[in-house]
Symmetry: C2
């Protein structure tokens, strides 16, 4: 079962300004052939930033989400630009969306969002030792920054508009990490 299926054919079957759909014909090791479609990612990398204002407070942002058609509360994120590495991208997005820069940036792990049909992977970056510094982004309206205490995560999870799986996963991971650090002291 660990032997990957063989790719018999791949072809771009639809594209728009932002999306590209690839059709895949796969043959599994047992001989079964299946047709798949997936969204490909052509970017140099996606980052999600967990900005730690202090040892218990993260900075969330609230902005309009065109996919779910409502205002959503989530962690800041974005795509690396050509020539930028992931930590540079994280620090730029942090300055554009939150109005802080970080002296310490630590990659935590990669998250997929729909591995069955999306190539997309997001790198979660912990941002610490923050100081106020703003870069102009391309947001259509000012982004609301919402500080939240990690020990009050259950109250955050009760909000319908805090719904993004990556943000929830990342905050839990960072809460565990901070508790471990605290225990080590």
């Amino acid at each position: 079962m660990d032997k990957k299926p063989e790719t018999l054919h791949r072809e771009i079957v639809a594209r728009s300004r932002l999306f590209r759909v690839e059709a895949l014909d796969l043959r599994f090791s047992n001989g079964v052939e299946v047709k798949y479609e997936r969204l490909t990612s052509s970017t140099s990398g996606a980052v999600m930033i967990v900005p730690l204002l202090d040892n218990d407070t993260v900075l969330l942002i609230r902005e309009y989400a065109a996919g779910t058609e409502r205002y959503e509360l989530a962690l800041p994120k974005g795509l690396a630009e050509p020539g930028e590495d992931l930590l540079e991208a994280a620090n730029r997005e942090l300055q554009e969306e939150v109005g802080y820069a970080a002296r310490k940036l630590t990659p935590l792990r990669q998250l997929s969002i729909a591995p069955g049909y999306m190539q997309h992977l997001t790198h979660v970056i912990l941002a610490e030792d923050l100081y106020p510094q703003r870069l102009q982004g391309d947001e259509p309206e000012p982004i609301e920054v919402v500080p939240w205490r990690l020990e009050e995560l259950p109250r955050l999870l009760a909000l319908e508009y805090f719904s993004e799986a990556r943000s929830i996963a990342a905050l839990y991971m960072v809460r565990d990490l901070l508790r471990e650090r605290g225990g080590r002291r």
Copy 2:
């Protein structure tokens, strides 16, 4: 800022067998106009199931993911079929993918995966009081079922191929829920 932007125009600009891309022209309350694209979801609902074999053990599945092009470990999930409600869909997917049915199904919350550009919402359903029962699914090869103790979540998070944000978020939520239940006893 809570006033939603006005939709000036919406139009399907690309489609394939599985995907449909909608272009949106939006005008924000401050007058700024922006062009967006999003993937629309035409299904009757998506579910992710957290199957609890006992008070500490969840059942994960390992299958090939065409998006990330590797085998991924994750919670079972699927789409509701026409006429099926979400709990029925969860119980059917559980039988197809894991080989168990549940006597107790509890909706926990909805998760979005990319609210900025996907309409998609997944309903997380806790499945308890399980008994062996299999339904034939449409999988190309047998799915490997992997029991995992929730108290060993950190070891699971260390696996690169356990990457899906929804699965990570759901397991943390259920771990917290079980700890709460335990505390109440």
